[in-house]
Amino acid sequence: MMERPDRKRVTSWVVINTVVVLYAMIPVLWIASLSFKDPSTFTDGSFIPRKWTLDNYAGIFENDDFVRGLVNSIGIGLISTFVAIVFGTMAAYAIARLTFPGKRLLIGVSLLIAMFPQISLVSPLFQIERALGLFNTWPGLILPYITFALPLTIYTLSAFFREIPWELEKAAKMDGATPFQAFWQVIVPLAAPGMVTTAILAFIFCWNDFLFAISLTSSNAARTAPATISFFTGSTQFEDPTGSISAAAVVITIPIVIFVLFFQRRIVAGLTSGAVKG
């Protein structure tokens, strides 16, 4: 009796999930398929390449600008993420646990930054960075990235810190821990899943950014991968760089996938279960 509506529900969910997954995956698969196509078959309209080739990949790695862009992306992304997580953790902890003058102001300001349209900041930042000599350097991108990643980290992390029972910290204090030891040995390990999740979000933000990367750089000294791709040219002036762009797009997706897969096991909920009564 109960099976019918159940099966109906399962079927409808399967259909909905399939549609959503296809909607999300088809463009990715399309790009991947393009990246494996021989330039002569780009326009054959077939989803599955008829003539497989790895030339597109070989081509972009022969391109010094792209390799350099990848290095820039990884370096700038990791440094920005690291700094944002370190400061974000401290700020989030303070917001979650302490009462201090200016707490509301801090929350307000970080919210304001998160809401601020980045495009309106490009021109002033361009001028400021040129005046300070930061234009077209790593710090020139790292600084704005940290600024925009911090509100995100503060918000997500303070939610995680609030979940950790305060008694654990009191217990640590009673056990003889200094406030820093209590934070480092008790709170941080428990907040680790939250910190990893936040780090991934911050890294993806830095990795994906195109606006700052294109506006605040002028050479491959600091230009990140997404910006580099936009400068691709075909091998001849009559050729579109479609293959290279697709291959590069696939390549820059891979680190994110690896990043998420690697930390997936850490992003598990319920690590705090067992701290207090079940």
Binding site: K173, M174, G176, A275
Partner: protein
């Protein structure tokens, strides 16, 4: 082991509320002291102030003569067991117990040995490599105890450590805590809202209400000589019966009959207001004095089982009979006039969450199991007049105690 002195300690919050008012107790070395009271009476705040987790607004906390007010918790050398146990979920049982020793930078071998010994003492050895999530409530509680005893602190502070356990386990852990404390001889401050725990565990009990100490003393003394209505209602289970009583000449008129005003009862009401003492039994026109009579359920007995003992008697219909094995509890309903209204009792009743907390319509009598009492049938009760306490309805003060003291 240490002597802990709380010298007129007061906790006042920024908004002006006073959580603990003038707390003044000297806890002797090795003593097991219980802070008990209804929720919100300031007992946990007091414990936190001893621990250093909350600041002391006024007064002084001294441990072995040293002022502790401004010391960080980690410098006070006290161990605390929390109601929620507060085990570190990312550490195994072994790491949990070893944590205070690790922070104290002890030698690895010493740490291992101490952890093993504490685990053996608490029967935790088989679980040392488990995470807290894989333990039962009782085991978690023992891990929390282990973490406290492992570094032999000056004092144990326990904040309702048993309230998350089921009833049977609670009784079991109660005796083992008591035994542990006796064998270690460590000064212990134990917070609970459960009067049974307080009575069974403590060398001395501190009863608190709204931040103020009501009475300090050994369990038996609190039971026998409650200083006021609140203490009388809080200590004892089932709790004391309270009845309105009227002083008329040489007897006390109560809903369960007249009680002769003799000896200590006479002295108790004599000390107040009018000079009854000088004209006993006379002056029929004098205004009756209202008092509250308190009689413990244990002071009652089935009249059929009592021979040749002086006392009062009362006949009523048994409403409900609970057979507990070693005793029977008989409930009688008294009429509405028997309701006692006193602010001092409201809090007790609220905390107990039932009408048996005194002051209600019901009278509870604890009878011998041999009693032939039956539900719905009338029963003649005998009660011991010597066990009657009289209280001032206004101040709540125990008049019988004052007169004899």
């Amino acid at each position: 082991m240490a002597e802990i002195v709380l010298d007129q300690v007061t906790k006042r919050y920024a908004d002006g509320t006073v959580a603990v008012d003038n707390f003044d107790v000297r806890i002797a070395e090795g003593e097991f002291i219980i802070l008990v009271g209804p929720s919100g009476c300031g007992k946990s705040t007091t414990l936190n102030m001893i621990a250093g987790l909350e600041d002391i607004t006024e007064g002084e906390l001294r441990v072995d003569g040293r002022r502790m007010n401004d010391m960080a918790p980690r410098d006070r050398d006290m161990a605390m067991v929390f109601q929620s146990y507060a085990l570190y979920p990312h550490m195994t049982v072994r790491e949990n117990i070893a944590f205070p020793l690790k922070l104290a930078k002890l030698d690895k071998a010493v740490v291992d040995e101490k952890v093993e010994r504490a685990a053996a003492l608490l029967d935790l050895t088989p679980y040392l490599d488990r995470k807290p999530a894989a333990l039962s409530g009782g085991q978690r509680q023992r891990v929390a105890m282990g973490r406290a005893i492992v570094r032999s602190p000056k004092a144990f502070l326990m904040d309702e450590p048993l309230s998350n356990l089921d009833a049977k386990l609670r009784v079991q852990m109660r005796t083992s805590i008591s035994r542990l404390q006796k064998s270690l001889g460590t000064t212990t401050v134990y917070v609970t809202h459960d009067q049974t725990e307080a009575m069974t565990l403590g060398d001395r009990i501190v009863i608190m209400r709204a931040g103020v100490i009501q009475q300090v003393g050994p369990p038996q003394e609190l039971y026998d000589h409650p200083r006021n209505l609140f203490v009388a209602g809080f200590i004892g289970s089932p709790s004391m019966n309270f009845l309105p009583a009227e002083v008329t000449g040489d007897s006390l008129r109560t809903p369960i009959g007249d009680i002769p005003l003799e000896g200590r009862l006479r002295r108790a009401v004599g000390g107040r207001g009018r000079d009854i003492e000088e004209a006993p039994g006379e002056a029929p026109g004098e205004a009756p004095k209202e008092v509250i009579a308190g009689i413990r359920p244990e002071a009652f007995e089935d009249a059929a089982l009592v021979h040749e003992r002086a006392g009062g008697s009362f006949t009523g219909t048994v409403d409900l009979l609970e057979s507990m094995g070693p005793e029977k509890l008989a409930y009688f309903t008294l009429d509405a006039r028997a309701v006692v209204h006193s602010a001092h009792l409201e809090e007790v009743a609220k905390d107990a969450g039932s009408d048996e907390a005194g002051g209600g319509f019901q009278l509870v009598a604890q009878l011998d199991p041999k009693s032939g009492a039956r539900r719905g049938e009338p029963l003649r009760l005998w009660f011991d007049c010597e066990a009657v306490h009289l209280f001032d309805p206004e101040s709540g003060e125990n008049l019988t105690e004052r007169a004899s003291g």
